[in-house]
């Protein structure tokens, strides 16, 4: 039996180097979440594009389409000058407003403390995304959508919710903070790393206002402990549990976030 298992492993290892390098299913789950969002938006008439890390839109007229997913530790956005081999982002254009946005995966954002925080999935204005790529680095603030993805066997602990709440808190730039960080410019929700550039979006006056207006979510393959649910709900963090391929929970998540995007972006 041991020999048979060894042979099966030999066959698998020969066919997929990705599996040997991957550190669990976390990144795969994050990409699944992103692809499901993009698919739902596409079905609703949004135009979807793949943007290479050099800022260039991919096209079959130029070459094969590739989605490169960041591996290893979270990192800032690489500068466009570093080339196209960095992580890919997905750009979408609203069929109603014409506004363009980008879906980022595993990017670090800078908080008011100066600390950096990764959001597994974030949606930011296309203009900000381009400005960040000009120099590379982490934007100051957070996105309109911030999602933490968890592919784990256990229910979410209160600490998991606390961690997301803390990340959102530190990266929330209120009107009162703006004069401290970017005194030259009007208050904004998020700023490129280059202090010479203006920000994007409208700043909120209170944390509650920002939490209510944004879309922050915990998206998990399993559920939530009572404590985690109470914390998340108290800070308007949306909870989506039992997410699996083809599940009703996944369909509900797709519909909800696309409805939010329809209404807000």
């Amino acid at each position: 039996m041991l020999k048979q298992i060894g042979q099966l492993l030999d066959g698998i290892s020969g066919a997929s180097v990705t599996l040997q390098a991957t550190n669990g299913a976390g990144r795969h789950f994050e990409l699944l979440v992103i692809a499901e969002i993009a698919d739902e938006l596409h079905k609703r008439g949004y135009q979807i594009q793949l943007i290479s890390s050099d800022g260039i839109r991919q096209s079959t007229a130029v070459g094969p389409l590739v989605y490169r997913q960041r591996g290893g530790a979270p990192a800032p956005v690489p500068a466009a000058s570093q080339g196209a081999n960095g992580p890919t982002s997905i750009r979408f254009r609203s069929p109603v407003t014409g506004q363009e946005w980008e879906i980022w995966n595993g990017v670090e954002f800078e908080g008011r403390s100066g600390g950096h925080h990764e959001f597994d999935v974030a949606i930011v204005p296309q203009g900000l995304a381009s400005a960040v790529r000009t120099t590379g680095g982490s934007p100051l603030g957070n996105g309109w959508v911030s999602i933490e993805c968890k592919h784990v066997a256990d229910a979410a602990s209160p600490d998991e919710a606390r961690a997301l709440i803390a990340r959102i808190y530190d990266t929330t730039i209120l009107t009162g903070h703006c004069h401290h960080f970017r005194p030259k410019y009007l208050p904004a929700r998020i700023y490129p790393p280059d202090p010479a550039l203006p920000g994007y979006g409208t700043s909120a006056t209170t944390f509650r206002e920002r939490n209510v207006a944004g879309y922050a979510a915990l998206v998990r393959t399993t559920g939530f402990s009572t404590g985690a649910a109470a914390l998340a709900d108290g800070y308007f963090i949306i909870r989506h549990g039992s997410i699996a391929i083809g599940s009703a929970a996944l369909s509900a998540f797709r519909s909800e976030i696309a409805d939010w995007i329809d209404a807000n972006l």
Partner: protein, 151 residues
């Protein structure tokens, strides 16, 4: 109760020899926990003061040693979660992105050294099939009473 841990250690060696180090590490973490299984999960109130309930409820999990079959399932579930499920999710992501773009989209991972690790959808289909066989074989092997006990 028969402990399957000696066989699990052989499995960890097999995985590590073939470069599946994250998966081997995940199983070792299971061993560190003694391959114990949750027996019940219940909510209890914390931070109680003066007889008043706290607003926060934490989940408490109690643990007990698993039966041989349960331990075998515990380990083979880890293998499924870490080996097959990621591939199924990659397959689905590739299908969705290709459908959106109207052309084949290749997914590549950026490895630890920024090397590009391509994802081959056709190869993945075979791996998923073989992986399913592997999990079934593992569960049988770990749970089997015969074939000689590993000292």
């Amino acid at each position: 109760m028969v402990n399957v841990i000696p066989r699990v250690r052989q499995l960890v060696d097999l995985l590590a020899e073939r470069g599946f180090t994250p998966l081997a590490a995940a199983i070792l973490r299971g061993l560190d926990q003694g391959v114990l299984l949750p027996s019940e999960e219940r909510a209890f109130e914390t931070g109680r003061s003066s007889g008043q309930s706290s607003r926060l409820h934490e989940a408490e999990r109690t643990w007990r040693p698993g039966t041989r079959e349960e331990q075998a399932k515990f380990v083979s579930d880890i293998v499924f979660d870490q080996l097959i499920e990621p591939l199924r999710m990659r397959q689905r992501s590739a299908e969705l992105l290709s459908g959106i773009m109207g052309a084949e989209v290749t997914i590549e991972n950026l490895g630890p050294e920024s090397e590009l690790l391509p994802f081959d959808r056709d190869a993945a289909s075979n791996v998923i099939d073989e992986g399913t066989n592997l999990v079934e074989a593992l569960q049988r092997w770990l749970a089997a009473e015969d074939e000689g006990e590993v000292p």
